[in-house]
Structure formats: structure tokens, C-alpha cells
Symmetry: D2
């Protein structure tokens, strides 16, 4: 059963409900959006009169919060994602020198981008690879954000770092390798920050929506989904970008959806075409890797684009997005 509690539930009321649920034979789980999930063979009827409880209903068999219209627009500081504009997130794969990062942030800003991305904590296949500047990288991102006014989104790897990210980032990213790290989803969902949730490279669209539900159930004030390619047999791109995921997601959830053509393809020469395709498919935005000297980037240089053409590309994608929106009801 699912108990929906009053928004201003007191700690005392919560503990009373949890104790009563245990007494009634349930394993209760309190989610920070004010919902209590009950499993087990108990009888929930006696609970219904407890103070703080609004309703008791069967557990949903599908994500429901991810489908609520109220979650269709996500605000990150002054930026609105999902409200009709085509949002562009840009920045380097990994945070490197502070000055370079600030320069790239300025380049992103003048090209019309809306958010700054950059990895401070980097998940790497090999333990011998560079794992990012970590806390120092977060500081640099904060500085670059402050210098340009662009809100910053950056990837978290571990629940123990949530407080640090909450203090530094404007939006917290869950990367493809952690989409099914459900403890991290719970911890980040409680942080009170909007979340960018990337699809697992071996995950289904359905699992992505369920992962978003974890975040929303813990009270995340907004979740933006990101399609970034899945693993397939095709070797000419790093992953296979599944753009049909955009309209599929629009059907089963109400959340904004953006696309990462850089990680999807792993190839700079494909990024612009896939950004335009994402706009045509109805995406709410894209996430692009940029670097002023891609061949020397510490991480994923082959997929970063140079900022010099960024402005023209952003403009082009936005025009396509607007055209696509005009015809989005055609079947």
C-alpha cells in the first residue's frame, strides 16, 4: 500500500505512522516526498485514522510522479527546461585548469548556451585513468558559474558527496553508469536540487522513467532525462543514439528530455548532425562537450567540438526545434 502524508508532517507523526505500520505487519519505507511505501502481509485499514495521513491506496505499478504535468518544467536558477525553449548545456568533459574552464564558460555563454557542464568527479573504466579534480573541480565550476551567470550541472558518483554537491552545483547529474545505483538516486533525490538523469547505456526507456520516479519520490524539485546512446552491435559510433526515446518518453512521462550527442557518438564530426536530429525529434535541449583544444583534452577529446562554431550551431538547432514544435501534433 502507499500512504500519502500531509506535506507538513511532523517527525513525531511520521514515527507514529511507521511504528503503527510495523505493528500491522508491514515493512514501511518513508520517502521524502511524504509517501510511505508498505510491503508485507499486513492490513492497512487500522492506519487510516492516524494524524498526518491523507490517503492510503494500492502501490502504483507504473511511475506516477514522472507523469505528473507539474513536473514538465524544471527550473535551474533562472533557466527553465521543458517550457518550450531549446536548452543548451555546454562545457568540457572534465574540468581541467580553472582559467580554461572560465574561458569555455564565457564561450558557452556568448554562444547562447544556458547551462555549464563539466566533470569534476569522473567515472573511468580503468582505475589508472585520471578520476577528475574532484572537490577542487567543483570549486572551479562554481567560479566559472559565478563569472558567467550560467548555472552549473555536474556529475555525482557517491551518496557521501551529496552535501558537497548541494552546496556547489545548481543541478546534480546522475551519469549513465549510476542510473541503476538506486541508493544514490535516493540520496540525490533528498538533496533539494534539480537533477539531470542520464539513461544507462544498457538500460531501457522504462527503467529510465522508473529511475526518475525514485528521485521524485524523494522530493527532487525537478528531473530532466537525458538520452545519451545505448550499447548495440554497431561499432562505428561509441553508442547508438536512440532518438525515438524522445517521443516515447513524452508519451509515458511528462519530464523534459535532452540529448547528449557527444557521448552518444564519441565523434566530433557527428555531434552537429545529431544535435539537429535531436531538435527535430522534439528534444527539450542538448548537452554538448566543447573544448578549445580538443586534441589535448584529458578526457574524451575526440568528441568535443570547438567553441568557434557553437553560436551558429545553437542558433540552427533552435530554429529546427521551433519548426518541429509547430508540427508536433501531426501523426
Amino acid at each position: 500500500m502507499l500512504i500519502l502524508c500531509r506535506q507538513d508532517l511532523t517527525d513525531h507523526e511520521r514515527e507514529e505512522i511507521l511504528a503503527a505500520a510495523r505493528n500491522a505487519g508491514f515493512e514501511p519505507f518513508f520517502a521524502h516526498s511524504g509517501r510511505i511505501i508498505l510491503h508485507g502481509p499486513g492490513d492497512a485499514a487500522p492506519l487510516s485514522d492516524l494524524p498526518g495521513i491523507l490517503s492510503i491506496e494500492p502501490l502504483p505499478d507504473r511511475p506516477v510522479l514522472a507523469k505528473e504535468p507539474g513536473n514538465a518544467v524544471v527550473r535551474v536558477n533562472d533557466v527553465e527546461i521543458g517550457g518550450g525553449a531549446f536548452t543548451v548545456v555546454a562545457g568540457p568533459c572534465a574540468v581541467e585548469e580553472k582559467a580554461r574552464l572560465i574561458d569555455l564558460a564565457h564561450a558557452a555563454k556568448s554562444a547562447g548556451c544556458d547551462l555549464l557542464r563539466g566533470g569534476a568527479y569522473k567515472p573511468r573504466t580503468s582505475p589508472y585513468s585520471f578520476r577528475g579534480l574532484r572537490a577542487v573541480g567543483l570549486e572551479y565550476l562554481r567560479a566559472a558559474s559565478d563569472a558567467t551567470g550560467l548555472p552549473v550541472v555536474t556529475e555525482i558518483l557517491d551518496a557521501q558527496d551529496v552535501e558537497l554537491f548541494t552546496d556547489t552545483a545548481d543541478m546534480i547529474q546522475i551519469g549513465t553508469r549510476n542510473m541503476m545505483n538506486y541508493e544514490l538516486l535516493v540520496a540525490v533525490g533528498r538533496a533539494g536540487k534539480p537533477v539531470l538523469l542520464k539513461r544507462g547505456m544498457g538500460s531501457t526507456i522504462d527503467e529510465l522513467v522508473h529511475a526518475a520516479e525514485y528521485l521524485l519520490l524523494e522530493g527532487a524539485p525537478g528531473v530532466v532525462l537525458c538520452e545519451r546512446g545505448i550499447r548495440t552491435h554497431e561499432p562505428s559510433t561509441r553508442n547508438t543514439l536512440d532518438l525515438a526515446a524522445i517521443p516515447v518518453l513524452k508519451g509515458v512521462a511528462s519530464l523534459p528530455v535532452i540529448v547528449d550527442p557527444s557521448h552518444a557518438t564519441g565523434r566530433r564530426d557527428l555531434v552537429a548532425a545529431m544535435g539537429r536530429a535531436a531538435a527535430g525529434a522534439g528534444a527539450d535541449g542538448v548537452m554538448l562537450e566543447i573544448h578549445d583544444d580538443p586534441d589535448c583534452a584529458l578526457c574524451d577529446g575526440p568528441q568535443a567540438i570547438h567553441p568557434e562554431n557553437l553560436s551558429a550551431l545553437v542558433d540552427n538547432m533552435r530554429k529546427i526545434s521551433a519548426l518541429a514544435a509547430e508540427a508536433e501534433d501531426l501523426l
Copy 2:
């Protein structure tokens, strides 16, 4: 070794070259574009003076005809594919009644489509399914083409039918299940008709280009490639449309590339979004299934769109295509 012969090679010259190649220790294979492929431990030097031979060079390790600039535009009657316009092929999955087909062809024509599609010979997973009207279906297609002026493209399943298709169709389609049916590629390549070659659902982009090379080596006057989705773990769409294949193909081949969003997704509600995405990705066109009563279609009804909105969708895709072309050099 690869022998390049004079275009107007006589039968006698050809037989002499083949005989000499066999004498020299080779297994020769004559391709109808006037090339002879030599395998085996022989010495090709003695052949070089034979009449009809222009050059002898090592066998290419990559498709070369598929990369020739001269193959970038394919003409089907008056229609040019690959020359900058955004070509729309439309029609029912399977040919059913003659009058309905002609009506659909008129609908496609008035919506601004360029070619008529329709399956007369249908490859079906189950032998108990309807396999198409076959020769009769080809007649209906011819009639619908004659009534509207739209050239017709239709799928061939067997080398023994090449003559029949050559007489009836304006463009011959090789379907996804036969992309690696190399004997069929050879036979169709010799037919003197432009070919629409669909990617195998379990094939790589590289294999698709090699399959095109088979056709061109046998003299096909034009090959258009078609991305139609690949098999992956994602269950919400019938296949996963690999739109990155478009810019990848543009890099390794010079052939026109179109996209089939109907078979890729198997879902009518995704077709328009994927058509727009294809335009954004730089495709030279799309292939759409239409049906005036999709729920009653004998085959693949769930993916067919109703002709009533076709015109607006075609117009929308063409505008996106034009925008994408403006920015296609941005990286």
C-alpha cells in the same frame, strides 16, 4: 587483383580475358560494371596486354564505387534523390485492393510525395501470414504509378523475379532481410534499375556500404541507402533507429541516404517525430507508410499514418531539411 575493362568490352574479349586469367592460375569473376576480380596465387602481369583491359590493380580493401562522387545523385525517372531536395517515398506497407492503392497514390502525390512504395512480395516471419499479391500486386503498383506519375519502388525477394521487376518497377528495393543475400544483390545489380537498399536489422553500417558496392559493381545505375532501425535490447520500439548512421554514411560513402521511420519504430505515434529527426540529421529523404484505414491494413497497420496530415508533415520535414543543410558544415 582487379582488372578494369573497357566499357564497350565485347563478349569475345571478355571470354579471352577470363580464359587467360584461369590459365594464369586465378579464379576470375566478371562483374557487369566491366571489372574482373581475380583470386588465387597467379601472376597477373601477362594479362596486361590483352585487348579490352584498361588497368590491373590490387583489389580494394574498402568499397570504392560507393564512394565515387558520381553516385551521389540517383535518378528514378524524373525524380532526383540526393541532389539537395528532401525526397518523400510514401505508400502502403502491402499492396491490397487496386482502387485503394490508386487512391493512396493520389493522396501521396497531392501531399507532395515523390515516389510511391508498396509491397507486392512480402517477406513474412510466419509461413502462415499473407505473402502479398505478388505479380498481381506489381500490376496494381504499375497502374497506380501510371495514374499519378509517381515512380514506384517495390521490394524483390528472389533473383528469379528480376526480369518481372525490371519490367514493372521504376526502382527495385532490397529489404532488410535480404541485405546480405548477395546473390540477389548481384542479380538486381545487373537489372539496370536504380536500387533502394535497406540496412539489415542485424547489420553494421560498414556491411551496408559493402552491400551497395555489390550492386554498383554489377552496374546498378544508382543506389539509395535506407536506415530502418537495428535490433537492440530496447523493447518500446520495434527496432532502434540509428540516425547517426546518416552522417556516418555521408563520411564513408557518397550515396544518398533515406530513413524509414515506419518500420524503424513500428509505431504510428513516433513516425512524424522520427521523420523530422531524420531531416535534422541530414537525410536525403524518408519513406513513410500511409494507409487510409490503418487499423484494417493487412500488414503493419499500427505503423501506418493517415494521409490527411501528410502534406503538413512533408512540408515541415522539408523546412527542417533545408535548415539542416544550411548548417551542415558546422562542427
Copy 3:
């Protein structure tokens, strides 16, 4: 509807039934096992009294012939596949010199193998690759079979070659690239020869069983299924061998199932382990590529094993197969 006819149906009876079916509003299709498939809006009741008709029933929605117990054992000359023995098919990937082939056949025979394999008609990704000795290769295979007594199985690529294969081969192979070449399945099904049907590299188990149904519906006197790996994201093997297909196939069909570890892995160092695994999984046999000088083989040398250890491997697999059979009912 599906009409089941008398086994000794005369041509005249058949034509009368087909004509009556057309008159009744059907598109009839006659399959050579004596079944007539009816599609269309007609009423089949009037047909039931025609001479030659045993029954009229709804079209099956699942393969039914592939599930018949009578198809559980396939005979190729004196060899029984599926009757409890663990059958080993061995031979080179491609037929090369005649003497070498005969030597390999003798090696296979003395190692205890049951059938000789070898490709005369080779489907190749590149048109510039060696496509096999073709008709000459079939002659060599016939000679090697006659010299050793091993029945020969070899791959057909085109329906036009059925007669040639029927005259030469003891068992006809449909390769992975042609599993969905349904016209070829129909033609080979009519040839009166047992068939080895390999799973398409992008196909499902369900599609494989349906393909077998095509063959049986046309009267194939036996169909052996072959799991040979599917395309996945894993790059360390050429394909991913899906051994769970064996017990899955045993559940949905009654046909013998063998495994090709050579093409599945593309790596000689994995063949023995995968042959043993196939035996453990309950396969009715394996198909192995052998070559006396693998590094010089014209085709797929890296996956061929040397005949010297073949006997010990065959013996080992048979012992494992026997152990697996003892416990095959354990769940």
C-alpha cells in the same frame, strides 16, 4: 484458413481446390507438404466437400510442424541427428584444393565425426573477397564424401541452385545471412533433402523456429537448427553464442539443435570450451571448422582448429553430452 490435403493429392485435385478457393474470395497458397493456406475475406465452408481435402481449420498462430514429435530425429544417409547421439559436423570453412579437402575429410572421419562440412558458395561481406569454388567446390565435396563415407552438408545461397545442390549434397545448409530469405526456404524445402538451418545473427529464437516451419511446410524431410551466435555489444568475440537457445528451442520445437562454436566466437582458442558448453547445454551436436594450416586458410582461418586434437575433443564432448542427458530432467 488452412486446408490439409491427402498425401497423394493429384495435380488435378490441387488445381480444382485452388480454383475453388479463388472463387470463394481467397488468395490460396499451396505448400508442398500438402497444405493450402487461405488468406482473404472468403468463406471456406463450400470447399470442404472437394476431393482431396482432409480438413479445413484456422491458420495456426505458432509453428506446428516444428513441434511435431516425428521431426525430432533427422536422418542424413546413415547418420541420425537428434536421436540421442552427439553429432559432430566438421570440415573447412571454404572448400579449397580437392586433395586437402579429402585429407581433412579423412581426418574428420578418423576423429569420429559424422558429417563433412565445407563452403563451396561463400557469402562474403565484400564483393572483392573470394566467393568460393562454387560448382567445382560441390564436386570436390562429393568426392570427399564418397572417399570417406561422411555425408556432406554445404551452404546454398540462391534458389536457382537448388537442383545442383540436390544432386550433390546430402544435406543443404541455409546460412545465417539467409535465414530470413523466405523464397530460398521455400525452394530448399521442396528439394526433398534434410536441411541445416542456421540462426540469423540478428534473429530471435522465435524467428528461427518460424523459418524451420517454412521448410517443413514445403516438405523438407528433416530440419536441424543451428545456434551460431548473435550480434551484441560485446566485442571480444565475433558474435555472442546464445546457448540458452538450446533448452529454449527444446521447449518450443521438437527439432534437433546443434551449435557452431567456430563462427560464434571467431576464435580458435574458444572453440573447444564452447563445444563442451554446448554439450553440457543439451545440444544434439556441434559443427566445427578444421584446417590443417589455419593461418593460410582462404576464409576464417583464425577460428579453425587443427585436426590433431579433434579426436580427443570429440570424445570429451560426447562424454559431457551423455552426462548432461542423464540429468536433463532436473529443474
Copy 4:
């Protein structure tokens, strides 16, 4: 560069080395096996004389600890995995009632199994599903282990729980959803417990070996790899079990490899066949889900087998394993 330190490095020495590395322009990372990874543009030569340093060498571009012969056998209490025996891990998917768990542990013990498995912390696709008994479940597992003498292996989901698992479990499992949760790998690697590392469902074999390297680099006293199926287009099984991973892993690493046929297939009727296949492929063991009332199991009931036939199956797999080992050098 990679610095190898003395095993008994003092904290003071470590801090000195790290400080010197930072001064020299590096970002140093200390791994608990006594290795320091240096990234950045620095010059490592001045460091070589510092106390505690054994050697400084280039960073490896491949896993090296995973390839060390010393890691070929993993000990969990009295059980040796990888030493030639065929290890069987058995238990329920999720820990439920304490008494039932103890009964199942006794059943596993009398069937000849070596370790007890059971999930206390369960990663679930939907946040509304039962997430396990958690700390209480660990207590039950400890009790079942103490009652039977079977060491217990159970899955950890979050780095914050490492101490709890270290106190309770004999072996810590990293599940398929967390194989690329590198922070968890680091934390678990430091726990001083042997680790069972499952392959990510969308991961490559190469990534699995790299993940093991993370654990070993942090000092894990043993890592056992577990193949449990990957995501593919085949829908008849939950995942596609990649048994070729076993001999591939044996080539690139020296670690023991076991197989989980229960999660790989998701179907009880396939478990025995795939367990036998794993034995034939040369696996060092299997992990089986058992349940005395599978239809009522809280989690994954359809794939659990009943303990009644377990003993015969274990015996059968061990015989096949022994036969496979006899012939493991055959190519």
C-alpha cells in the same frame, strides 16, 4: 606514473610521498594496495629517493593485478574458489523469513553447496518494489551461515554500508547494476573481504576485468568474477548468457569465474541446462537461486529452483566440470 610502495608504508611516509608528488606537478591518488597513481604534467624522477618507494613505472594500459597468478584462487573462510573444485553458491534471491532462510541454507548444505547467497539489500527497478530486509536481512544471513557453516555472500548497494557488510558477510557481492559504480568498488576493495563481482548487463568483458582491477588495487584479498548475462535483442530469456566470457576471461585475467544461470535466464526451466553448460565451458562454479515455494517468493520466483533436485544437479555439474578440466588444453 605508478609508484609502488613498501607493504608496511607508514602514514607519514605516505603523506610525504603524496606531498612531494603534488609539488612535482602531479595529481596523486593513493590506492590501498600500496600503489600511488600519478596524473599530470610533472616529472617523477625527484620522487624516486623518497623512503617507502620501491619503484616508479609508467601507468599500465591494461589490468595487471587481475592477471597475477596469485589471484587465481580466492578463499572465503574454508572454501576455495578457483582451485579446481566446482563451487556452488545457492540461496534465495531475497532474504525473507529467518526460519525459511535457515531451512534453505540447510538444504543447500546437504545438497553439497559451498556458499550461501541471499539478498538483504535489493536493487529494484521500481521504487515501489520491496527493497529487502536490509540490516535485518544481514542478521538472518549471519544466523543461517552460523547454523550451517556455509560462508555467506550478499550484495552491497552503497559505500556507506561497507562496515556493516564487513562485520556480517564473508564475501561481499557487487551486483550487475553497480559494476561501474567505481566509488563503491573502491570502498569495497578497502574492506578486506573477498568480493564477488558481477558483470554489468550492458558491460563488456574488458570493463569487467577493469572493475576487478579497481578492487584489487584497493587491496581486496580476492575477486571472483560472475557472468550473469547481457542485454540483447533476444526476448525469450531475461538476458543472454555469454558463456564464451569464461574462456575469454581465463585468457585476459587469472581470476576465478562463476556463472549465474538464474538471473541470466530468468527462467527456472533453463537453469539446470545452463549450469551444466557453464561447467562444460570451464567455469569455476555457479550461483543458483533456490526457493522452497518459488511461486510465492517475494522476488524473482520464476527463476528459483526447488531444493529437492539440487543435490543431483550439483553432482551432475561437478562431473561435467571434471570432464571439461581433463580436456581444457585441447584446441
